[in-house]
Amino acid sequence: MAQIAIADQGYESHEPHSFVTRYIWSQDHKVIAIQYAITATGVGLVALILSWLMRLQLGFPHQVSLIDPHAYYQFITMHGMIMVIYLLTALFLGGFGNYLIPLMIGARDMVFPYLNMLSYWFYLLSVIVLLAGFFIPGGPTGAGWTLYPPQAILRGTPGAELGVITMLVSLAIFVVAFTMGGLNYVTTILQARTRGMTLMRMPLTVWGIFMATVLGLLAFPALFVSAIMMLLDRLLGTSFFMPAVISMGTQLPNAGGSPILFQHLFWFFGHPEVYIVALPAFGIVSDLLSTHARKNIFGYRMMVWAILAIGCLSFVVWAHHMYVSGMNPYFGFFFATTTLIIAVPTAIKVYNWILTLWRGNIHLTVPMLFAIGFIFTFVHGGLTGLFLGNVVVDLPLSDTYFVVAHFHMVMGVSPVLVMFGAIYHWFPKITGRMFNEKLGKIHFWVTFLGAYAIFLPMHYLGFLGMPRRYYALGDTAFIPASAHELNMQITVAALIVGAAQLLFLGNVIWSLRKGELASANPWGATTLEWQTPDTPPRHGNWGATLPIVYRWAYDYSVPGAAQDFIPQNLPPTDAPSAETKP
């Protein structure tokens, strides 16, 4: 049974030896993590190219004949859905979650390795079904990533015949895949921690992934429910969401369905989804800042409590996405209040990150640059969130580029920066080689400054009233010529930033082959994954015996210690106590 292997009673390494069992039908959490990461990156590149095409149309309208209005809406929809679900969720939880959880808590693998393997293959299936949308008659759905009915399944919307079906089926499969993975992450964290690894000794990365998984397990069912019910509306003519509609002169069979019901279900998933992406990023960035500033994380307990508080609050704010759908003013007041309250734990986290940096021994390594960059973009996106959380401010801004700028800053750029930081940080452990630092720094600066060049002007365009979701602006009195120029500049910046990501991929591929060999612990980090006997860790992670944990994850620069870090598995007698610290 799995738990016996995990509890390490008479561990035997059942290391697979054939290529197929080792790298394809693998049950090793590290291989599954890399499979997740490669698939997510691949599908993310598709979404990147889609964003280029969208920006080309917006910056240089009608110059590219490939992009007609239908294609433009299909690009928007697929870009949004891929980035939010198939890239960010899959990479943070399926990728980093899978790789880091067992290593950070001192386990040999996930508790249900077979389920873990199934999780990946279901994820791959969902990606294939999603991408199949590009090759079926009518193309993928163009209903926007929110898929609001009735328009998502009415004729006239791109992909309403088949595209919307592949999209909904793909989402349902993704939810199944996520549930199988999520069961593993939660149970592993609760059950398979090594001796001495109490919950409050876990690195914040694990805390962030843990809470994000719990949110996902409770929120993804809402997506599943709405996908199933919409599929039934589309295929069997039920009326869950579909009101009576006359479409192109014919009366549809539906009557009485409630489109608002879909919006409630969708956003009941959609808002926690923001935190499913953000919480792992919060956790990872905490560890990056602490490690590369050689200083313990400021307010560890507060950081854990804030993660839990954000997780709970994220379930009672969903209707702030629906202010423009119309609602009882008291509801609006309630949801505006909860939305603003969630800023409190989030602000605690930001203060603690800054206080971690305060008087730290900051090493401006590539991961650290990305982590600090994240603080900027996240504060920036968070502050515009405070604007939009208020009903009266949201109503006029909701359909403008201000919202596009807000959510791209807060849940596009910010988590992506952390993702890159995390890849650069753990690259030596995962591959056994160092990346090229110069290329990494170029990648950071182009991405960071480029993101501002793209999204900062969008706030201004939003204030001007430039509407989002429009294929072309045409000649309108309230949009001055300068706005069109700004759109051109944004497009140029987007093309450059996109190209910089190819530089990153090039760096990864080059470093895999030619990178300098990495030592076991190049950053001098305390957490367990850096203390493995082999780099990269072998099957079973820990050799003959599991590590024993004697201290928390943040013993950096302890006065009197021989090194400026004390690994978690170093017994207390070998190092002076930290108790003398104030």
Binding site: L183, N184, Q191, A192, L199, L218, F240, G257, F268, V549
Partner: protein, 228 residues
């Protein structure tokens, strides 16, 4: 939406309670060594029990959301009451008996020397009753169809087929596992049963928990459909 909003705090409260058991108050930077807390709680519950618990929480979230959708859809004026087939009462009794049979098997595993005969009878009875339940539900579908209510006829009938269909799928998934366990128990050599028994006993326990959950969910669905 109110049902939905209620479920989540409860589920999160359970998670927090689990976490609080492990002392979220701890100041980990002050305490070193491993004496403070055993850390590894794997000895208390097998991982499979925790895994099943988490899975059932996800299923609860799923059904709660469907119930919330049902509740909201009811508020639309075109709603009409669905006359439920009488056979559902009989089916409910079947499922309850099935649950009791599995409980019987479970309690037989708790004895110092597990009563294999009782376990076998309990599992077989539980599985057959569950199969009868599925057949009964299919019959209920036929009856409803004969009365002129198919899937897309009224919103209430659509929800009826959706609820019973999903619950049926959930049950069939459980039946596959139960079938596997039952086969293994039957293949077990009565004379030499020390080593192979432990994982099977756990698996019986998991099946019983799953079945009680199935019953609870069904009772909730039935009550919801019956009372509205």
């Amino acid at each position: 939406m109110s049902i939905m909003a209620m479920f989540v705090p409860i589920a999160l409260a359970i998670v927090l309670w689990l976490a609080l058991l492990q002392k979220l108050q701890a100041k980990p930077w002050l305490v070193q060594g491993i004496a403070a807390e055993p850390g590894n709680s794997a000895t208390r519950y097998p991982a499979k029990v925790i895994g099943l618990g988490v899975f059932l929480a996800v299923v609860t979230a799923l059904f709660t959301l469907f119930a919330a959708a049902y509740h909201m859809r009811m508020a639309v004026p075109d709603w009409s009451h669905l006359p439920l087939p009488k056979i559902l009462w009989f089916n409910t009794a079947l499922l309850a008996l099935s649950s009791i049979a599995l409980q019987w098997a479970w309690s037989a595993t708790d004895r110092p020397a597990p009563g294999l005969i009782d376990i076998r009878r309990g599992l077989l009875a539980g599985a057959s009753l569950a199969l009868l339940f599925v057949a009964g539900q299919l019959l209920a579908w036929r009856q409803l169809d004969a009365n002129g209510f198919f899937f897309s006829c009224t919103p209430a009938s659509a929800f009826f087929y959706l609820f019973t269909g999903l619950h049926g799928l959930h049950l069939v998934g459980g039946l596959l596992v139960l079938g596997k366990t039952t086969t293994k128990i039957y293949r077990l050599d009565l004379s030499n049963r020390t080593a192979a028994v432990a994982p099977l006993l756990l698996s019986i326990k998991l099946c019983a928990i799953y079945w009680h959950f199935l019953l609870l969910i069904w009772l909730a669905i039935f009550a919801l459909l019956f009372l509205t």
